[in-house]
């Protein structure tokens, strides 16, 4: 196959061992989703060629990049893997244009050719007016686009995004997720998204591989993972509330439920996917003060202890998952059928355009 075929085994001093195997087809986005310390950054390092494998293999487009058994190791500069790093790692002493031209020039392209390519990429990312800026003058969102342009400029065989959205604030993330979705679908090779944020994984990836303690606990579509979570961690992840609706200047009408919500994000109108994190919803015995639209009365549909947290599932009008502490569960006397008030801040309701989603863009 012409995609990525990887079996990554790295033994770190101490107990930590990474042992994950996955493959990505050309044009497919796989998300490697897991908590911090699960081995995601080690996976980035071995794929990019910054650390050698102890066992296993990395084969990209039929080319063996790392195979300890056969004593093969291709250095980072010869791998043709475009990496968008967590904090972008732009070169502060080079202008935006020179940052994007860096790869093509390093690969031996002529200056005029590299210049044309870089300008073209910056234009596609709506950054053409900023080519003379220096990286410290850029906003987080602009820096992310420059990092993406710089990675794409080398015309890589694999696009690797390491926590590409985690350095951004909540409002910017929504917009940039859409930009990213667009450019991921433009890139024809395999794409790997490393993230700890289930929202990014659910909205941007075709398939999700969940890594816990150095091993894959589940691989499947967002739907598989939501329906049949394999571990408590996956169950908690899958609880991220995803709704479909329409945004009109902050007023959200939902397609499947008779209840309106208010979001602080008015920048994206029309058909949207709405995410509400399970920890963002507060529960009360009495009616709390606050925006009446984001405060509603309901009943507890189920109570499910998950160790450090308790998963409460609410009944009509909105079947949302809520994570609270076991202490709060006791204090509020929450049990199946109990009457309860739910509230969520408008700033905690994230919207993403439904149409520009990576998956719909691919079909």
């Amino acid at each position: 196959m012409m995609g990525l075929d990887a079996h990554l085994v790295v033994q770190r001093s101490g107990d930590f061992r990474l042992d994950v195997a996955f493959s990505i087809a050309p044009g497919e986005t796989l998300a490697l989703l897991g908590p911090n310390g699960a081995g995601k950054s080690t996976a980035v390092e071995v794929l990019a060629g910054l650390t050698p494998l102890d066992h296993g293999h990395v084969v990209l487009g039929g080319r063996v990049l790392d195979a300890p058994a056969d004593d093969v190791f291709i250095a980072a500069e010869q791998r043709r893997i475009g990496v968008v790093f967590q904090d972008y790692l732009l070169f502060d002493h080079l202008s935006v244009l020179d940052n994007v031209m860096f790869g093509p020039l390093a690969l031996g392209q002529r200056k005029a050719q590299a210049d044309a390519l870089a300008n073209d990429l910056l234009e596609r990312l709506d950054m053409q007016g900023l080519s003379d800026r220096m990286p410290p003058q850029l906003s987080g969102g602009q820096a992310q686009r420059v990092a993406l342009a710089r990675a794409l400029a080398t015309q890589p065989d694999l696009l690797l995004l390491d926590e590409a959205l985690s350095a951004l604030d909540v409002t910017t993330r929504g917009t940039l997720r859409r930009v990213l979705a667009q450019h991921l679908s433009d890139f024809e090779g395999p794409r790997l998204l490393i993230t700890h944020d289930p929202t990014d994984a659910f909205l941007l990836a075709d398939r999700i591989a969940i890594v816990e303690d150095g091993t894959l606990s589940q691989v499947g579509s967002a739907e598989d993972i939501r329906r049949r979570p394999a571990t408590p961690y996956v169950a908690a992840l899958a609880g991220t509330n995803l709704l479909v609706g329409t945004n009109r200047a902050g007023l959200l009408t939902l397609d499947d439920h008779v209840h309106d919500l208010q979001t602080a994000d008015t920048s994206i109108g029309g058909a949207v996917l709405i995410t509400i994190h399970p920890t963002a919803i507060a529960l009360h015995r009495e009616q709390p003060s606050g925006s009446p639209r984001n405060t509603w009365q309901t009943r507890v549909a189920s109570v499910e202890p998950l160790g450090d947290t308790t998963r409460i599932t609410l009944g009509d009008p909105l079947p949302l998952g809520v994570d609270i502490t076991p202490g709060a569960t006791t204090a509020l006397d929450l049990h199946e059928g109990a009457a309860v008030w739910a509230s969520v801040k408008a700033t905690e309701i994230t919207v993403t355009p439904a149409a520009a989603n990576a998956k719909s863009g691919r079909n």
Binding site: G49, L50, E77, R79, L89, F91, F102, A106, L107, A151
Partner: protein, 267 residues
């Protein structure tokens, strides 16, 4: 901040006292020099052949030595910081040795290596007739020997503090190690390289012991300003003071000019 109001804070007296004594160590000798200066004859003294020759030679050799230290010292610092070769601690100790060794010893060692009878000097002399000691290039070699360690130590320290992830990012973009060094690492450590260069130049300008031992004391050829001062102290105290003043003026001017522009955001 922009209103012009400032918070006045009194420095704690132990710091003020000790710091002032520390500053006096450097200021007092300058005052001593100024009180002994024959101001009326100064113009005539500093334009004498001996002084002009020594000044020209000092500027030429110190600048050359700083340039050679830069070209050889930065790669050496990179090797010491980034390549884990066997015997690295020993090489590092030997490189910094001239900072603690009496320069006279260094000059003698150079003579044994590069002199007419030296291990390397003799075959070179036999083959080409070229003789390093007692030539302008002898002065430059002696200066490089004592000055380059300052640049190497400064630059190696900076290289160790560079966040390697930018270099890793450059590698994933297809850059070879040399390209990464040239286009990423070097600009990142620029302020430290410039600081090291100034330190090396300053050390070369004041060099005495290794120069006099290895290159001799020939006016117009190997007699730099510090050597001229030493000779003059025994014959003509006024000339010695005048040359000293020239050295102070040149050094102070360069350090003041470079400090703001080159050192401020660096080390």
């Amino acid at each position: 901040m922009t209103t012009g109001r400032k918070i006045r804070q009194r420095a704690p007296w132990p710091l003020l006292l000790l710091g002032s004594v520390g500053a006096a160590v450097f200021v007092l000798p300058l005052i001593g020099l100024a009180t002994r200066t024959p101001w009326s004859r100064l113009g005539e003294l500093v334009t004498s052949d001996v002084v002009v020759d020594a000044l020209k030679l000092s500027l030429l050799t110190s600048v050359l030595a700083a340039a050679i230290s830069l070209v050889l010292g930065v790669p050496l610092a990179w090797l010491l910081a980034r390549v884990d070769f066997p015997g690295r601690p020993i090489v590092r100790a030997i490189v910094t040795l001239p900072m603690v060794l009496p320069p006279v010893v260094g000059g003698a060692a150079l003579l044994f290596a590069l002199g007419r009878r030296g291990v390397i000097g003799e075959p070179i002399n036999d083959a080409t007739g070229f003789l390093l000691p007692f030539s302008v290039w002898g002065v430059v070699v002696a200066n490089v020997f004592v000055a380059m360690p300052f640049l190497v130590v400064t630059v190696e320290g900076a290289l160790r503090n560079v966040d390697g992830r930018h270099e890793a990012a450059a590698a994933t973009l297809g850059a070879s190690r040399l390209t990464v060094f040239r286009r990423i690492t070097l600009p990142m450590i620029g302020p430290s390289v410039r600081a090291g260069l100034v330190l090396a130049w300053a050390r070369a300008l004041g060099e005495f012991g290794a120069t006099v031992t290895f290159a001799g004391n020939l006016q117009g050829r190997t007699q730099t300003l510090p050597l001229a001062v030493f000779v003059a102290l025994e014959q003509d105290r006024d000339t010695a003071v005048a040359i000293s003043l020239v050295l102070v003026a040149v050094s102070l001017t360069v350090l003041l000019l470079l400090r703001d522009r080159w050192w401020s955001n660096g080390s």
